[in-house]
Structures are given as structure tokens and as C-alpha cells.
């Protein structure tokens, strides 16, 4: 019973906040709702028993990416933006595309209607660490290389033209 309450309240938070992200006229508000939606996804990870994923979601997404996006919204924003329409003319076509794809996606989801969790979730942080340091060592090191490249790229692109 408690599992149902947790799942339905978390998914309501996630979906309502996501709708607010794509429909809000004020970009600052929609970036705040993005943070709420990402926190709700972290809660869904916790409900799924993925403890390390929950921690990573809170640390990387909620406190990293959402804050970074909020910073750029405030750097790039103008007061005149609040009076402009934030949605382009093709929104009818986008609704149509989403309706058609939702039919297909929900049909796939319906195929797993009777799949229940086989056992209670176990902590998986230790197993993830072993996998990263053993079998998946090369992808793990490549991920750190990607992060270093992203850091250098961000510094390079955000310098002003004059100092380059």
C-alpha cells in the first residue's frame, strides 16, 4: 500500500513539474521546475531500490545541472522576454507527434503489465564499484576523459573573443 502511495505521489510531482518546465513562460520558473522534476526522478530511483543512482541523481542533476542551467538563464535573460510567446507555431504538429508516439510507447509498456519485482531490492553500491574497477575499467576511464574534455571545452568556448 505504502509503495503505491509513494509511486503515485512521486510520479505526479515528476510529470506535473515536467509539464510546467515545457509550458512556463518565465524561463527562471521553468528552470526551478526542472530542479523539482529531477528531484522527483531521484525519488523514483529510491523507490526502485537503486541507492547509488539516487545519490548520483541528487548530486549531479539536482545540485549540479539544475543550478548550472539556472545560472545561464539568469545570465541570458531579459525583462522583455516575459512578454514574448515561448512556444513556436508548430505546437499542433508537436502535439500530434507526441500523441502518435505515446500510442506506441504505451503499447510496449502494456506488454509488461504482469511483471512484478522478483525480490526485495538489495544495496548495489559495492557491486557498482567492483564493476567500475574490474570489468568496465576502460569505459570508466573514458568517462573521466570525457569530463576533462568537457571542462576544457567549456573554458575555451566561454572565453571572450578578445582574449583568445
Amino acid at each position: 500500500m505504502i509503495e503505491h502511495i509513494v509511486f503515485y505521489s512521486l510520479s505526479t510531482v515528476v510529470l506535473v513539474a515536467a509539464v510546467c518546465v515545457v509550458t512556463m513562460r518565465n524561463t527562471v520558473h521553468s528552470s526551478l521546475f526542472l530542479g523539482l522534476s529531477l528531484a522527483g526522478v531521484a525519488g523514483l530511483f529510491a523507490a526502485l531500490g537503486a541507492d547509488f543512482l539516487f545519490a548520483a541523481q541528487v548530486m549531479v542533476y539536482v545540485s549540479g545541472i539544475a543550478v548550472l542551467i539556472m545560472f545561464s538563464v539568469m545570465l541570458l535573460g531579459r525583462a522583455s522576454d516575459l512578454h514574448l510567446r515561448q512556444v513556436n507555431e508548430q505546437w499542433m504538429a508537436a502535439v500530434l507527434i507526441c500523441t502518435v508516439s505515446s500510442a506506441g510507447l504505451l503499447k510496449i509498456a502494456r506488454a509488461y503489465c504482469g511483471t512484478l519485482a522478483p525480490s526485495a531490492p538489495t544495496p548495489d553500491t559495492r557491486a557498482i564499484g567492483r564493476l567500475f574497477m574490474g570489468e568496465w575499467l576502460l569505459p570508466f576511464e573514458l568517462a573521466s576523459l570525457v569530463l576533462t574534455a568537457a571542462l576544457l571545452g567549456a573554458v575555451f568556448f566561454s572565453r571572450s573573443e578578445a582574449s583568445r
Binding site: V19, S30, L48, A50, L116
Partner: protein, 101 residues
């Protein structure tokens, strides 16, 4: 709770992200919608691991790699965006037509 519940939430989140990426005029709005889509994929990975393969951790590990790449993408994307904004003085994608000549 069955797997179908989690898959439904994830697909709805993904479709909201697709809708945002197709319709937002502000380029940061498009980036935010892309983040929503990444999260939908991560929910799917975690749910498949929990319900179909509870003995391994491959789903969570792949989701962690997705998070890494998403973080790198956001950092580089926002830096590029600041550079474009400095040159064109607008954040609306329909004004980004420098390559039109």
C-alpha cells in the same frame, strides 16, 4: 507495482521532453527538455534492472554513464550558448540563421 507503471511514467516524461524540444523557442528551454528525456531513459534503465535482472547492476551502471555524458553535454552546451549569445545577442533559435548566408 508492476514494471508497466514505471515504463508508463518514463514514456510520459520522455514525450513531455520531446514536446518541449520541438516547441520551445528559447534555446535553454530546449536544453532543459533534453534533460527530461535523459531522465526518462534513466528511469527505464533502473526499472528494467529492478524487475528483469535484479542479480546484476548493469542498468544502474549504464544510467551512471548517461549521467556523466549528460553533465558533459550540458556544460559544453551552455558554454557554446553563451558564446553564440555574445555574437548574436539573442536566445531564440529562429534567429540563429548565420549559416543562411
Amino acid at each position: 507495482m508492476t514494471l508497466a507503471h514505471y515504463l508508463t511514467v518514463a514514456s510520459l516524461l520522455f514525450l513531455i521532453g520531446v514536446f518541449g524540444a520541438l516547441t520551445r523557442r528559447n534555446i535553454i528551454g530546449i536544453l532543459m527538455s533534453i534533460e527530461l528525456m535523459f531522465n526518462a531513459a534513466n528511469i527505464n534503465l533502473a526499472a528494467f534492472e529492478r524487475f528483469l535482472h535484479p542479480e546484476g547492476v548493469a542498468g544502474a551502471t549504464l544510467a551512471l554513464f548517461i549521467m556523466t555524458v549528460a553533465a558533459a553535454e550540458v556544460v559544453v552546451g551552455l558554454a557554446l550558448l553563451l558564446a553564440i549569445y555574445r555574437n548574436t545577442d539573442t536566445a531564440y533559435v529562429e534567429d540563429y540563421n548565420l549559416l543562411k548566408g
